[in-house]
């Protein structure tokens, strides 16, 4: 832990050094913080994995948004 604390923190947006005591921490500057917020707002941060059959059941049960269905016609989870 101490080793990691000692290492300089880098700004998540521009990868430049960002002082821990800085006003914009964890960013180097208000500008980089602004860009990051824009990325959140734009849906740029995404964790993707391959679709599995269970996911479709879950989607039907929980009413999750499903994109691309229009290409396949109406979705019926129980064939």
């Amino acid at each position: 832990m101490s080793e990691r604390d000692a290492a300089p923190w880098t700004c998540p947006t521009c990868a430049r050094a960002a002082p821990r005591e800085g006003k914009a921490f964890p960013f180097c500057s208000p500008r980089c913080r602004l860009i990051d917020l824009g990325r959140w707002a734009g849906g740029d941060y995404k964790v993707s994995r391959a679709l599995e059959p269970d996911d479709l059941e879950e989607a039907a049960r929980d009413g999750l948004p499903v994109e691309g269905l229009e290409r396949f016609g109406p979705f019926d989870p129980e064939p």
Binding site: M1, R4, D5, W9, P12, F25, P26, F27, P30, R31, R33, L34, I35, D36, L37, G38, R39, W40, A41, G42, G43, D44, Y45, K46, V47, S48, R49, A50, L51, E52, D55, L56, A59, R61, D62, G63, L64, P65, V66, E67, G68, L69, R71, F72, F75
Partner: protein, 882 residues
């Protein structure tokens, strides 16, 4: 700089200079008005304060620079004297001393004493001339207490003196000289400059330095004879290229060397040849530094030359992009502003008839110069980008980044505006709000999924607990991807509910909930969504985490149900001892409430367990109650371990398993490692010493053994790689040395196992082929774990802990929750939301740096570690926790 194009050097290569003899009396017009200058000095030099005072110096120096521009002068010496006067000396042609035909006075006298006189008022003497307003040195004379001029011309020196513009000593020849040039010394008149007559070294230095940059090869010396004295020299052989390098000296530059060119274009409108000189560099900052000059005067307000330059830069680079990256749509190309991020440039134009406009007369107005600069920059830059595709791509890449940043910033500002001043009472979409208005007792649950959100809304304490469901997931059937993300509206809703605002508006005092609880499924998807939410808080609302307002709920992963046999004794209830231990170890300091939730229900006990590790510990503790281990080593009598011995065996084996994995990460199969145990003294190999070329791996048991092998190898001229030395290079090494750091501990465990009467032969794992033979039966197995009537066979000692867990688990109903949705409202309340029973982990800032790292891995900035990470952590939810 040696490889740069040669900058325009007005000193070395004059633009068609006239012969020295042509500069004589006939080229001077005579106007009058010294009294007018003294009556209204501000009209001529701007003001009578500091700025006007220094302007006097610039006027005189500009005359010398004109000589340099015309190619007759290389040196200008400026000296500030201790009596408040100042001298400007150049090595030009010297002001003519012959009689002026119209006024019958020496030309030098006319130049210095008659307002409006001077070479620059006629195109003939100089092609291009500096001087801010071209008022000429006669104004300086008029505003000086005294002025003395010395002219060195034609092998003779001359002198003339004035007081407040009027001749006090007529021109006279003072002797022979080998020098050439003009020396003017003057003392500003205190009657005019009432406020200050003191020249500032820094002010003069700045301007003289600038002039030296703008006139490559011009050597300017600035001496200050006041006080301790000081001398500065300015000489820049590469002119504005040196200037650009100086401007970006502290930054990381994008181009190996600045782009530079100079071009001369004829223009009738500007009265002759217009010279355009441009130097361009890029650095990794976000601001632009573009300085523009017209006739050596800083055009602070810009003007036509600047607009022409910008337009050419954008057009040329986007033109290249259009040709080379055809898949980019027009609207995806960087804008002019995007190309200005990190731009460092000096633009210097020289125009026969400059027009200055604007408030401070520092904006270039010549309309034709815009087109001239645009053409010149466009022509040169088009050729440059064709010849330098790599550097062009760097510039374009930077501009694309700038464009993305600009769009993101716009989106962020929209979001901040949208989420500003939305009040909790105002009905925030999807938020099931709490009744209480006291933020200190209110909790906001961020719940993964609408369905779990519904259950949580039913389960909650409506007085203090608010629920905000976040979908967090989108399925894309077309791309066959399952994406975890926070949508724009979810982010907006979250910010609105929290109430603090965002960016500069962020105000902790407006926080609506003093506990923000993230509640996600205890699976990989859930952990990813939790990482997303946590990262959002860490980056955009770090104060929430600093002040300990963010928590992670611990929904159960397992429900175990068992029967209570007899009151009081509870023989079948999981061991009380083991349970306490498990709870103690698993607890985070910041956790509140018990680690597990238990409830009795009609002769049954239900227990909820929040993670795999704890589940395993619990089942192990359960199995250890009354377990016996039968060991049937081949050719040896069967041995049975009972009671404490079983516990000790399991502890030793669990630790050995961990150490075995460490050995295996060094590329050595643990079974083979054990096989190298020296029979005589039970020592294990000290290190793996491997000769990749001969595939030899001699056994080494001590530090000394390693030293000897290394020593011999080095004597044979071989190169040795040490796994522990980050500086040594593995590639191509002749010997690889990998130390086994835990050898002592493994040896001790083996001795302890022997002490328990366990045959170490049983540590070997059967080969894969044997495994495929089918289920191991209790009868055939060399190892059997028994508890009550249960029996579980094991093929290796290393499988004993798992077998103990298995027998412990028998008779207990285990339900593994896939998600929050599998619980009903009662269960969710009791296990996860009830403040008196639940476990909440408080998120600390230190944890977040790790979460941020995981986030970066998940975002796929590096593809490789991402897959590694997912493989290593799928199902291991607790690692993602704060």
């Amino acid at each position: 700089m040696a490889t740069s194009p040669t900058p325009a050097s007005p000193v070395a290569a004059p633009a068609a200079p006239k012969r020295a003899e042509d500069y004589d009396a006939s080229s001077i017009d005579v106007l009058e008005g010294i009294e007018h200058v003294r009556a209204r000095p501000a009209m001529y030099i701007g003001d009578v304060y500091e700025r006007g005072l220094h302007h006097l110096v610039y006027e005189v120096v500009d005359n010398s620079v004109d000589e340099a521009l015309a190619g007759f002068s290389k040196r200008i010496d400026v000296t500030i004297h201790s009596d408040g006067s100042l001298t400007v000396l150049d090595d030009g042609r010297g002001i003519p001393v012959d009689m002026h035909p119209k006024v019958n006075k020496p030309t030098v006298e006319v130049c210095l004493s008659m307002i409006g006189a001077g070479g620059k008022f006629q195109k003939g003497a100089y092609q291009v001339s500096g001087g801010l307003h071209g008022v000429g040195v006669s104004c300086v004379n008029a505003l000086s207490e005294w002025l003395e001029a010395e002219v060195y011309r034609g092998g003779k020196s001359y002198q003339i003196r004035f007081a407040r513009g009027k001749t006090t000593k007529a021109l006279e020849e003072t002797g022979a000289t080998t020098r050439r040039g003009t020396k003017i010394t003057f003392k500003p008149d205190a009657e005019i400059f009432k406020q200050t007559q003191e020249f500032k070294l820094q002010t003069l230095a700045k301007r003289l330095r600038e002039l030296a940059y703008l006139n490559a090869g011009l050597h300017i010396t600035l001496r200050d004879e006041r006080g301790e004295g000081r001398t500065e020299e300015y000489l820049f052989p590469n002119g504005i290229v040196d200037f650009v390098n100086e401007l970006s000296a502290t930054e990381n530059t994008l181009l190996a060397k600045p782009i530079y060119f100079v071009e001369r274009i004829e223009s009738a409108e500007s009265g002759g040849v217009v010279e355009v000189e441009v130097a361009i560099q890029y650095n990794d900052t976000y601001s632009d530094t573009v300085v523009t000059y017209a006739n050596n005067i800083a055009t602070i307000e810009g003007g036509t030359h600047l607009s022409g330059f910008r337009s050419a830069l954008t057009t040329t680079l986007n033109g290249w992009l259009k040709e080379n990256e055809k898949n980019k749509k027009d609207e995806e190309r960087p804008s002019g502003d995007d190309y200005r991020e990190g731009l460092v440039s000096v633009i210097s134009v020289k125009i026969p008839q400059p027009q200055f406009e604007g408030q401070t007369k520092t904006k270039l107005g010549n309309s034709d110069v815009g087109g001239i600069v645009q053409t010149a920059v466009g022509n040169y830059l088009r050729a440059w980008v064709d010849q330098n595709p790599v550097e062009t791509k760097k510039i374009i890449h930077k501009a694309m980044e700038a464009r993305r940043a600009r769009l993101a910033a716009k989106q962020a500002k929209d979001l901040a505006r949208k989420t500003k001043d939305v009040l909790r009472g105002g009905g925030i979409a999807k938020l099931k709000d709490a009744e209480s208005n006291d933020p200190r007792e209110c909790e906001l649950y961020l719940v993964e999924g609408d369905s779990a959100g519904g259950t949580a809304s039913e389960a909650r304490d409506p007085r203090t607990q608010a629920i905000l469901p976040l979908r967090g997931k989108i399925l894309n059937v077309w791309k066959a991807t399952h994406d975890k993300m926070l949508s724009h509206s979810e982010i907006a809703t979250m910010i609105q509910a929290i109430g603090t605002g965002i960016l500069d508006e962020f105000d902790m005092a407006k926080l609506q909930f003093h506990k923000i609880v993230i509640m996600c499924d205890a699976d990989v998807d859930g952990s990813h969504i939790r990482t997303l939410i946590l990262t959002f808080f860490f980056r955009q609302m770090p104060d929430l985490i600093r002040e300990g307002k963010v928590y992670v709920a611990q929904p159960p992963l397992y429900k175990v149900t068992y029967r209570t046999r007899r009151k009081g004794k509870g023989a079948d209830e999981p061991a009380a001892e083991g349970e306490d231990e498990a709870a103690g170890e698993g607890e985070d300091e910041a956790a509140e409430g018990p680690a597990t939730v238990k409830r009795a229900k009609g002769g049954k006990v239900e227990e909820y367990i929040t993670n795999d590790a704890e589940f395993e510990r619990k089942m192990l503790a359960q199995g250890l109650q009354g377990a016996r281990v039968e060991l049937r080593a081949p050719g040896a009598p069967a041995r049975v371990l009972e009671g404490e011995a079983v516990g000790k065996l399991v502890d030793l084996l669990a630790e050995l398993d961990r150490l075995a994995r460490e050995v295996e990460t060094k590329g050595v199969e643990f079974g083979k490692y054990l096989a190298r145990r020296r029979a005589s003294d039970g020592l294990l190999p000290y290190a793996k010493v491997f000769f990749p070329k001969t595939k030899k791996a001699p056994a080494v048991y001590t530090d000394a053994d390693v030293d000897q092998v290394v020593h011999e190898a080095r004597n044979d001229g071989l190169r040795v790689w040490f796994a522990t030395d980050p500086l040594s290079e593995r590639e191509g090494a002749d010997v690889e040395v990998t130390r086994f750091h835990n050898k002592d501990r493994v040896e001790q465990i083996l001795r302890d196992l022997e002490g328990l009467g366990v045959s170490l032969a049983l540590l070997a794992r059967p080969s894969r082929k044997d495994d495929q033979d089918g289920q191991l039966s209790v009868e055939d197995a060399l190892i059997v774990v028994r508890r009550d009537k249960e029996a579980e066979p094991a093929s290796s000692l290393r499988d004993v802990p798992a077998a103990v867990r298995t027998v412990g688990q028998r008779g207990i109903k285990v339900q593994r929750y896939k998600g929050l949705g599998e619980m009903d409202a009662d269960e969710l309340w009791e296990t996860t939301m009830d403040p008196s029973k639940r476990t909440l982990l408080k998120v600390a800032l230190d944890d977040m740096t790790e979460a941020n790292r995981i986030f970066n891995i998940l975002m796929g900035t590096k593809v490789e570690p991402r897959r590694d990470y997912i493989e290593a952590h799928s199902g291991d939810v607790s690692n993602l926790d704060a």
